[in-house]
Amino acid sequence: MKKIIIALILSFVASCLFAQDAIMIIKRVDDNMISKTQIVESQMLIYGRRKTRTVVSKSYTEGKDKSFTEYLSPAREKGTKMLKLKDRLWIYSPSTDRTIQLSGHMLRQSVMGSDLSYEDMMEDREMTDMYSAEVVGEEIIDGRKTWILELKAKVDDVAYYSRKIWVDTERYVPLKEELFAKSGQLLKRVSLTDITKVDGRWYPQKMNYKDVLKTGKGTDFIIIDIQFNTKIPTYIFNKASLRK
């Protein structure tokens, strides 16, 4: 009887330690991926069944609540802007000179025909705020040792109820992610590559998003330039800046 109790206590302590480890790991991942501010110039390569499109944009992010994106090319997209303030998203169209707020199921729609949804674009919160984590195994990806973590949502307003992430054990950067719905259905796969050190933190320069419900090669999100913790003027995160 004593042995059983000791075994139970040990397994409980072990699971607590593993959970602690998992939380520590995603905290380190957040430290790498999230900063007070970010200014990112990026290009999206959207692989369609007929042709591939390239969309270039510049985004400004401050904390988890404020984000502003301006599309720079191609000509069809140039001048389109998006502003996120907390859980609200506005889109400005230069062709109609109108600002439209998106809400509800529209946020799950694809951005510019890519494999990313508006919700994906809006998600700037730290993973430790949204998910509880557990280490479930280890795997080698592209010659790098990774921990496999299973994340389950601990808040209601998340785009994906659970995630499985493969975190580089040395650089604390995810190399692969699988995003699931509450039903357990796999919705998207993300692979993160070209990990380089920028301003003292490891950061993936290329991310391939693959909506598993769509055919095709997915969408590459490639970072052209990224700045961390640069001061962003407050007027950027204002509705008036959409029409400027």
């Binding site: 069944r49 499109r53 997209e77 439209i100």
Partner: protein, 424 residues
Amino acid sequence: MIKFIFKAIIRDKNRSLLPVIIISIGVFLTIALSGYLNGVLGDMVDQTARFDTGHMKIMSKAYAENKDQIPNDLALMGVGEITESLKKDYPNYRWVNRIRFGGLIDAPNSMGGSKGQGPASGIAIDLFSSSGDEVNRMNIKNALVDGALPTKSMEILIGHEFAKKMALNIGDEITYMGTTMNGSMCFGSFTISGTLSFGVVAMDKGMIIADISDVRRLLDMDDAAGEILGFSRDEHYYDEKVALVEKAFNEKYLDSKDEFAPIMLRLKEQNNMGSYLDYVNSFSSLFVIIFVIVMSIVLWNTGLIGGLRRYKEFGIRLALGEDKGHIFRSLIYEATLIGIIGSIVGTLLGVIFTFYLQTHGIDISDMTTDATMMMSTVLRSKFTPKLLYIGFIPGVFAMVLGNMLSGLGIYKRETATLFKELEV
């Protein structure tokens, strides 16, 4: 002879009234139900053909695989040439281009913000053609509740319920937000020229109809279309003929490995319409069979009762030397006449009822407020020439069959025992 039997039927109402009433009711029910089914089920087929499937539809193979998602990025290209070749090769059909599209409709307020938003399901058709084929086919003029048809570019028609929900009026401007054929985000400002009510809940709640040229510009679909629809010139669907066209067209692209090569599907192969059409066709036959069986049993029984009541009459006629066959035949003539009278009355009542329901219909809008399927909110019967005989022939046949069965008793009468039976 007929005159003699007719007089007998008129004078002896006990002999004819009950069978005439039974036949009339049976024929009436057969016609009324067949007409109702023709109307309701046929209406759904017609609505589906006019608004969605056509009598045949041409799409790219890739589009056809995911057509429920309206994947305009996989739409047919070079549709001008394809349409011209279809017009030349199959002149008995009318060929039209359509684009289905989805998106968000946003109504601006006076401050430039939004006063309302809603998801919209759009159909782009040729609104400005001189023939007005598509406008007539979709019955747009009759469906117009307010305003008028678009007369210039970037004018749009919107579901009446949709407009009410968003507090939109004629002349108001709305912004459409959607995705181009290439996946780009697109915005377009339209002016509402009219509101429509098709009596189809799914459409009235979120539909917009725009001219195909405007939508082509908006969605970057120059010389492209999601669908090319074919309709027979009399707007009726003939499956065998359409199947021949389909076979000939698809054979041209049979060996093509191009996923964007065109493919034709006939109405019966879309939206599970095949089993539905078979169901519609078999239903009328089923009614007639059930009617003949049930009526024969009822009239057999009625004939037997009549036979019992006329037991003495047949006995006297046999005693007077009338041939059994002659009596049986006169009974059948009588039944035929009664069957004809009952069937005429039943057919008349059935046709009147069908015309009434065809004109006025049954309004079920209260029951379909949350329905999302494409069904009319007014259920109507439909008169077809078939109704003139679908009840009439079985009505006469059932009466004759019933009397033949009950009349067999005449042959079992023994002349030797007649006088004893008649207590003479």
